[in-house]
Symmetry: C4
Subunit: 224 residues, 4 copies
Amino acid sequence: MTLTQDVQATILRLRREVSALHAELTRYELVVWTAGNVSARVPGADMMVIKPSGVSYDDLTPENMVVTDLDGAVLEGDLAPSSDTAAQAYVYRHLPEVGGVVHTHSTYATAWAARAEPIPCVLTMMADEFGGEIPVGPFALIGDDSIGRGIVDTLRDSNSPAVLMQNHGVFAIGKDARSAVKAAVMCEEVARTTHIARQLGEPVPIPPDQIASLFDRYQNAYGQ
Amino acid sequence: MTLTQDVQATILRLRREVSALHAELTRYELVVWTAGNVSARVPGADMMVIKPSGVSYDDLTPENMVVTDLDGAVLEGDLAPSSDTAAQAYVYRHLPEVGGVVHTHSTYATAWAARAEPIPCVLTMMADEFGGEIPVGPFALIGDDSIGRGIVDTLRDSNSPAVLMQNHGVFAIGKDARSAVKAAVMCEEVARTTHIARQLGEPVPIPPDQIASLFDRYQNAYGQ
Amino acid sequence: MTLTQDVQATILRLRREVSALHAELTRYELVVWTAGNVSARVPGADMMVIKPSGVSYDDLTPENMVVTDLDGAVLEGDLAPSSDTAAQAYVYRHLPEVGGVVHTHSTYATAWAARAEPIPCVLTMMADEFGGEIPVGPFALIGDDSIGRGIVDTLRDSNSPAVLMQNHGVFAIGKDARSAVKAAVMCEEVARTTHIARQLGEPVPIPPDQIASLFDRYQNAYGQ
Amino acid sequence: MTLTQDVQATILRLRREVSALHAELTRYELVVWTAGNVSARVPGADMMVIKPSGVSYDDLTPENMVVTDLDGAVLEGDLAPSSDTAAQAYVYRHLPEVGGVVHTHSTYATAWAARAEPIPCVLTMMADEFGGEIPVGPFALIGDDSIGRGIVDTLRDSNSPAVLMQNHGVFAIGKDARSAVKAAVMCEEVARTTHIARQLGEPVPIPPDQIASLFDRYQNAYGQ
């Protein structure tokens, strides 16, 4: 396959970006050892850039990121891609607005996932970011399209950019890799705060119309 | 508006101070991503210095802090100010002794806020700093004066320099920005310790006169 | 007072040691802001070296440590000593084998202290270090000898080098400042692990003779 | 004893590796002060390389690692070896496939150990790494072969590379020291997540055949 110069330049940029974003996963302690990864779609090509499998976060470089097609076949790279490549490729094939995917087993979110319990929306920060509860996806084994399909089927009808895959962990999406990382960070934050709130009683619910109002404002007016 | 040289020098100093104080929010893990901010009143002028909206803590500099008037209108700065500017400006307008305001969603304090439960005073450290319980303010949506009014109405009759806004998070005040940051740090500390104490039973109450005695000594005799 | 050269050299060494040991309190997150301190007795003189009051851990230097006599009166130093100086001086006056004292409000230990509940000995590590439970001392206000007397009366009959002062926090002692810091670190460690064990059921007790055997071996045979 | 050049070179490599791997124990907060250690078998010789006793992690160097025979007698080194040397030597003598052993008192795993409760397998990550529950070994005092025998007897019939020694802590094994460190890191991770999941209800079980399938794939297909 011959790539245009534009696509080549985009891949170089995304290699740097995807490699660097893993530092946010370790900064916020969403991952241990090698158990989590970031990928980015290559805009204008049916390709994605993803972490190599089983490589320490300390050893990630733009050069050792792996480029695959959207079926997960390696196009560039000496290392095998993340074992979550098939799931993430499925997401890119079926959700065209998604430009980045992140997978973690962050502690509190995964605890909700182990109970197959969605995280209720009792924080204004959660209304802002998730527009309601964070839903639970099915139990699914690795090795075919089950995980990818579970992610897509769960998120398609939700405001939430994150899903708790049952007994497994978090998949978060965004318009680009940085947005997906932000969703993974905020998912753990609200999972933790809501867990701790629940330990000593019942949080006060937020009325659905207020959740909708917060979500609408934040998605359209926050930031620069 | 022409500023006196004194006010110009004060603004320069406060740009440095406010920018630098955000490092205390990350050091004590009171914030993730961009979810928290510090502001300072400009003494001698109806102005405040505040964090820009949605900018990473790593990227804060004295230069990109935003200067607004006390209605939140931008006077200096290329970036939009924090989305909490209106609330903090309200505080400065109505509590003239306040020189700094901090907003966080720190985990344990926000968990108490999600249950709309004040933090009881069962620690000598809390008697020292807060002089009693940390109160809960109303549920309030962003966009008008509801949050600012909720903060002011709650803190006006309290010894506490911090309020837990229901379902939302912490607003802390002080005679300057550094004092407000200290109040935010200590609020999370006592929220966490009291939560953990309560997990395995009931803490021993401290009699109100002892709380008053500790508060009085600390406010008047501690430090240099 | 004229000091011998030996005592002067010892004070210089202890200024460096006490200043540096505060980095262990922050490393293990036993303290926030300025809420904890280390002191050391000056062997061969009725003097102690202690942290100045209300100074940030980042700003501690050998030079700004304060030297006091064993009634807490300042002998060397431009800054006021820690507000815990009287309590620590009392310990040095009444327990001649103690060469170092540490005070913290570390989270889990202080949670036990808030419930006035001693930490039971259900971990071999705790048998090694504490030789039984970590006891609770009385509620005592700052300002006279109440805290010092509470520490001494509680620890005099205990194997434990740490006491949980009710509603307050931890005082730890040792043959020197480093040993006292170790006791403070291990106190929080066993307070946390025992708390977490208790959250989901009852820990298995360790028979008293086994605790005695572990304590004896560790105190006499561990390390270099 | 005269060592071949090959064995001498291996020992030099393992001194560097064992010394450096302790940084993973501190990075993931599995240890405080000096309470945990790593060892490696010297392939091709009845020898092991282990941390010296009671030395701070900051002060570890390849040169101060201790080389012992598989009865724990010191062959090279000026310092006494870890007080866990006898237990780890027992493991190397009785489990020939083991090339590395790690001991920690990591918080959540030790909390399960204090209740003598195995960690149930309710996370896909745990199925991957441990192939079922993490078992509990007997209460055993230091000083003879009780700890080593407890480790070996418990792990011999388990998929798990980690054992929770009752009231004590974690011993983890691997084909080399790095694998054993990974097992110790993942043991704490699943101990924590499962604890937190259990705090608010019952996790959903994973059927045994799915655990077997996940374990088989991960052991044979993950990584590079």
